[in-house]
């Protein structure tokens, strides 16, 4: 055995691939300072949450100030904002994903949408089918209420469909209008989430095909899940002034830190891989503390998680869409070589840690 031997995984050329990733955000970008000023926030503790965080700017759907003050958004306003926002940036992300390979929504055979920032019936996939001209026989699935980890749950579903339907085209759309779950009420618990989450959409084309143009991107090789039932209350929706508001427990970084090794070790173990064999880490931009916890428990550096950190810095926590933003940054960097191995980690309510193994 030579020290420089590249580790190989059996069956790496079979399986569905992430062929292309597209992203989109609302047109308006706000710095943390701008948000604080717009809302006229003066409580120093709350201001500190905005200014002390690691994220610097976010794209958001915020209302226009009326007479210099931010208007109160009713429940109906927020529901409208979720649907309207999703129907604006969702299609843009899908186009960004499909256009470079000469495809359109009409070509898609199955389609999964994840969103946890608003509840709709019919779901977003139906609204998008109407707006974007999907075929009438497109198979749709909406994944709701799974929060930040949902991107990988969706990927697993679409990848499974792609594997059992060779040549067919699958699409995953993660679209989160987190500003539709903002409640401004001068509480620390709402300030925590209002200062962290941003709006964004990311789409991925997933297929197992022999066509040359579709034979690019990493093969989705394996998944491993981990649920921590005793921490079911760590992340959840709560009603604030009869509006849905996300609640984050202060223990989350430590719960994730103490558990993250478990699924990752199981995932790597069954392919006889060690941490040192992993070339790329694609991790959900949950927040600075969660990222610290993952770095220190798996032995990763800021360089390993550079895209996770830059996505957090530039866009905030985009919930289920975050990891695809990091994935796109990695692809854009153009450093990935054939045979490289990547691990994806997302975490969310449940408490859940989802992981995936990618091979280029």
């Amino acid at each position: 055995m030579s020290a420089n031997k590249k580790v190989t995984i059996s069956g790496r050329n079979t399986g569905s691939r992430i062929v292309s990733v597209g992203t989109s955000n609302p047109p308006r970008k706000y710095t943390q300072k701008e948000v604080v000023e717009l809302y006229g926030e003066t409580n120093p503790k709350i201001v500190q949450f905005f200014m002390n965080g690691y994220n610097i700017s976010r794209c958001l759907y915020l209302p226009e100030p009326v007479n210099g003050k931010m208007p109160e958004e009713s429940n109906q306003d927020l529901i409208n904002k979720h649907l309207g926002g999703a129907l604006e940036i969702g299609p843009l992300a899908i186009e960004d994903c499909l256009k470079p390979i000469g495809l359109s929504s009409y070509d898609i055979d199955f389609f999964c949408v994840t969103s946890s920032t608003g509840f709709l019936c019919p779901g977003l996939s139906a609204h998008l089918a109407k707006k974007m001209g999907f075929r009438e026989n497109v198979y749709r699935a909406d994944l709701l209420g799974m929060g930040c980890s949902a991107g990988l749950n969706g990927l697993r579903n679409v990848a499974a469909l792609a594997c059992s339907n060779t040549g067919k085209l699958g699409l995953l759309l993660c679209v989160e209008i987190c500003s539709a779950a903002y409640v401004y009420n001068d509480k620390i618990s709402t300030a925590v989430v209002n200062s962290l989450f941003g709006d964004g959409a990311a789409a991925a084309l997933i297929t197992q095909s022999d066509t040359n143009i579709l034979k690019q991107g990493p093969v989705i090789t394996d998944f491993e899940s981990h649920t921590i039932p005793e921490s079911i209350d760590a992340m959840k929706f709560e009603l604030e002034d009869s509006k849905l508001s996300f609640y984050l427990d202060r223990d989350i970084p430590y719960v994730i830190g103490a558990n993250v090794e478990k699924p990752v070790k199981r995932l790597l173990g069954r392919h006889s891989l060690k941490y040192r064999n992993i070339d790329h880490w694609i991790v959900h931009s949950g927040g600075k503390k969660v990222i610290d916890a993952i770095e220190y428990n798996i032995g990763l550096t800021d360089h390993d998680l550079r895209h996770t950190l830059s996505v957090l810095r530039d866009y905030g926590n985009l919930s289920s869409a975050s990891f695809l933003f990091s994935c796109k940054e990695l692809m854009r960097e153009n450093i990935v070589k054939e045979g490289d191995i990547g691990v994806v980690i997302t975490m969310g309510p449940g408490t859940t840690i989802e992981t995936a193994l990618l091979v280029w």
Partner: protein
């Protein structure tokens, strides 16, 4: 442990001793040695029953620097071999075991670079340390990044730019090495050094060392987050659980 072309490796209990072993060239570092050391890092990292790795040379020389015969006259030199060396040094710097360098005789160039990534360094009194790279026309690797953190910028410039030959006692006073002894006491001093590092708590070692290595280039705000994540990992480790159990069964100290 495997056998290597350029290393003599021995395992005794939880201690692996690797001797740089190219006596004909005073243990100069060539590509083969970098590959051997990298492979050894893999093996030691994976070995569940190893707590300490000791790097040493021969009785008369630790290492004489780079073996320039690896660079060929008929080919433009490239950076990738040196990059491999840096990768190996980094592996040693963050290895999940205690790392000790035990120096006898001259410790030049790449040998000196190795000391800066070890947890503990001992040397015999007559050993001499020197970065001769700049004098020869190249660079002493990432010691340009590490050395000043140990001894301050002024002294680091002096050592690296003048290739000054530093005596063991002076290196000790500057905090570059931890222990200096007479040649006859060398083995005993080495055993004591290893004893002082034990017991081996892998989580506490990795966390403490990583924080210390980061302390000069991280802001307080970032560092406190790193520290809390690391401390949480330490207090949820098996070692700490056993400590709590033991403490609970004891009478309170008043």
């Amino acid at each position: 442990m495997n056998s290597y072309k350029t290393l003599k490796v021995q395992k005794k209990g939880g201690v692996v001793t690797a001797r740089l072993n190219r006596p004909d060239v005073r243990n100069a570092i060539n590509m083969q040695m970098v590959d051997d050391l990298t492979h050894l890092m893999d093996a030691v990292e994976d070995a569940q029953d190893v707590a300490v790795i000791v790097l040493r040379g021969s009785a008369d020389v630790f290492c004489s620097g780079i073996d320039f015969r690896d660079f060929k006259l008929d080919r433009e030199p490239d950076i990738y071999g040196l990059q491999k060396w840096e990768k190996m040094c980094r592996r040693l710097e963050i290895l999940n075991k205690f790392t000790v360098a035990a120096v006898q005789g001259d410790c030049i160039g790449g040998g000196f670079q190795l000391l800066l990534v070890c947890d503990s360094v001992i040397a015999e009194k007559k050993s001499v340390f020197c970065f001769n790279e700049v004098k020869l026309g190249f660079l002493p690797g990432m010691s340009t990044f590490r050395l000043a953190k140990y001894i301050g910028l002024g002294r680091a410039k002096n050592l690296i730019l003048t290739a000054r030959r530093l005596k063991a006692m002076e290196a000790l006073n500057w905090g570059l090495i931890d222990q200096v002894c007479e040649t006859v006491e060398f083995e005993e001093t080495l055993s004591k050094t290893i004893e002082n590092l034990l017991p081996f708590h892998p989580t506490a070692l990795e966390m403490a060392r990583r924080l210390l290595n980061e302390c000069y280039d991280t802001s307080y705000e970032n560092f406190i987050g790193h520290f809390l994540a690391a401390q949480h990992r330490a207090i949820t480790s098996e070692t700490f659980k056993i400590l709590i159990k033991k403490s609970a069964s004891r009478m309170p100290c008043l």
